[in-house]
Symmetry: C2
Subunit: 440 residues, 2 copies
Amino acid sequence: MHPHILIIGGGFAGLWAARALRHAPVRITLLDRDNHHLFQPLLYQVATAGLSAPAIAAPLRQILRKQDNVTVLLGEAVDIDTAAKQVQLSDQRKIGYDTLILATGATHAYFGNDHWAEHAPGLKSLDDALRIRRQILTAFERAEAEDDPDKRAAWLSFAIVGGGPTGVELAGTLAEIARHTLRGEFRRADPRQARVMLLEATPRILGSFPESLSEKARKQLIRLGVEVHTGKAVKTIDEYGVSVGDERIAARTVIWAAGVAASPLARCLDVPLDRAGRVPVEPDLSVPGHPQVYVAGDLAAVQCKGKPVPGVAPAAKQMGNHLARVIIAKLKGKPALPFRYRDYGNLATIGRKAAVVDLRGFRFSGVFAWWFWLAAHIFFLIGFRNRLVVLIDWAHAYWSYQRSARIILGDEEARPRTPDDEYDTAAEATHQRTESAATD
Amino acid sequence: MHPHILIIGGGFAGLWAARALRHAPVRITLLDRDNHHLFQPLLYQVATAGLSAPAIAAPLRQILRKQDNVTVLLGEAVDIDTAAKQVQLSDQRKIGYDTLILATGATHAYFGNDHWAEHAPGLKSLDDALRIRRQILTAFERAEAEDDPDKRAAWLSFAIVGGGPTGVELAGTLAEIARHTLRGEFRRADPRQARVMLLEATPRILGSFPESLSEKARKQLIRLGVEVHTGKAVKTIDEYGVSVGDERIAARTVIWAAGVAASPLARCLDVPLDRAGRVPVEPDLSVPGHPQVYVAGDLAAVQCKGKPVPGVAPAAKQMGNHLARVIIAKLKGKPALPFRYRDYGNLATIGRKAAVVDLRGFRFSGVFAWWFWLAAHIFFLIGFRNRLVVLIDWAHAYWSYQRSARIILGDEEARPRTPDDEYDTAAEATHQRTESAATD
């Protein structure tokens, strides 16, 4: 009986580990609470109605269907018993393992203000993205329906908290939607008067980039029509807006892109975590004192050449591949090698024809950086069909300034449907007649 | 000041009426509770994970943005005051009109068993489609996780109530998903053992078609692996299955395609409705006693050449265009002509390479009918981009047997996310680091 490798999390780290083990004499179980692998770098495109949800996600079963040594399981792990080598699921199921790979990534964190979540959704899952999309599109509709100019202005004000890559992408895209996409579609509200504000607590946006590129990004955002506020922390967030420093900003739409923290599952390991809840691991990515447990991706706190490995997709993929090598080495009785991170650089898109790229010191920005970013993301997107559909949506968006997914979905509470309670037998009578409406 | 035409409903009837009035000296308000026009004939493709929601919907504002005499309004009409010529919205807004066009279509009806709705969702809106998609995909996941063979079989059993075109499409597509799409993706459950049952109360399916085509459709469904049960009405529906006649069928997934009734809004008109809640209108589609109120689409009960006009998309479009002509004629003081329905035929798709077509007596079925159906639906789909994306998704599905939208969304209650309540200031510390995960 081959040893059982349990991988929790079907993100870049977990999925790449499973694929790299395809020829290894092991039984793999890949557990995820979603049925799909998500291409998170393009999640902001779903939130801003540029792409449909299925365009950036692929079912884990489909990706792995030909890999016979993998079983994909839909479920949420809630506890880990390292002594019994067992994982507990939310539906009471228990799964044993010989080797555990923990790759559950990060969730957004509100710095201890969890009540902000209600007014300022974060962006980590497809459901988050669809909620944000609904809020953004609905805000313009509310503005159109509003008579009071101040209230209308508040509906046309969008505050994005956090000047990291996600915040910058959201702000740049929102500005384009207001300035171009919606132009001429409203009769009373003027989307071009919308305010898009990017609020960053530290002195500069894109802090993970060199200062020169942060400055270029700021200039490009301003050119796109974004108000960039730096150096002041958000004090309060409510239904009607935000307070920054001692300034009050009226904005009915607030989006949270400011903080993420490691998945809470790490706390089950009974090992000291770092301040962000990540697991400080050994050089081979194993958990100190638990040689059968490994951590990969955003959940792992690991150093390489004295520098912390950043929480980016390429690092997660590399950790996944490394763990496959470690496990195969162990099976052959060979020693495990330490993880080495190959840094290929750092990209951030800002908006139409605007991006910044830092390739190991080779830095550029603007149109060329944007095309470079576009090509890289299309290339890394999983699945031929997805790449093609995304390309078409983007080509279409590029030439027409239109967005292909401007559909408001699932806001049932705001739009109750009257249940039909009469016409009982009557409905039957016309069933065939009205039914045929569905095919012609 | 030009007269104000209020159109309620952005479906085929309402949207076509608005577009046909583009050169008329009128002010048009198009009111819809959704922000999009839905291409309903392909809704079953979203419910069966073949297409993404945005692929078959387009924002009404975008469609009408260049038509200056139209204002699009998002809102739900709840009452009509024909004396004051005013429509009441659910959010207390009131909208006056000179001429009212009521085109709110039909909703699904449960023959007085509204409690069935909880266990057997119907298919009218995109939200309905996404709910059904989630249930279908989740059912296979539950089967894979289930140890008890009987319970697993129940999760692999799908009952579709109603043998009209929608029921036939859903059954045929579900059979293909079980037999082909999911093949080899599960390790414990075998999707090919799934039971797909089509339950029709009348003696034959596709009752709106000639008997010969109903029979051909039945044979094609059986070939695809569908169990066709006719001549027995459903007695009860609950969480665990359905009772048909005196037979009990265990099926954890039940879909309602059996009955629709006209939109309840018609009741506000204080005129006698037919047994299905439709408004019997004058030959020019005006409401008896209310010359300023017209009804179009599925909501209108109208005869043409002694036959009732069927509730199909072409009829709705024709009614919309006719109302534009009537309104223009009235403005010129000319008499309104009666509505004439041009019947181009009736199509129904059954599944891969299977369909039935009845073009004014010219009847055919099978592969050719399927290609004919495909071409017709691609052609009539609104928007160049949508057509292209739908074509690609279908070409991809045709060659690979894969479905492009197999993503489970929005089942929050079933998988609660643990809120992050610790790592307060800590999260801030690593904000930049983990944030950059979003762009690389």
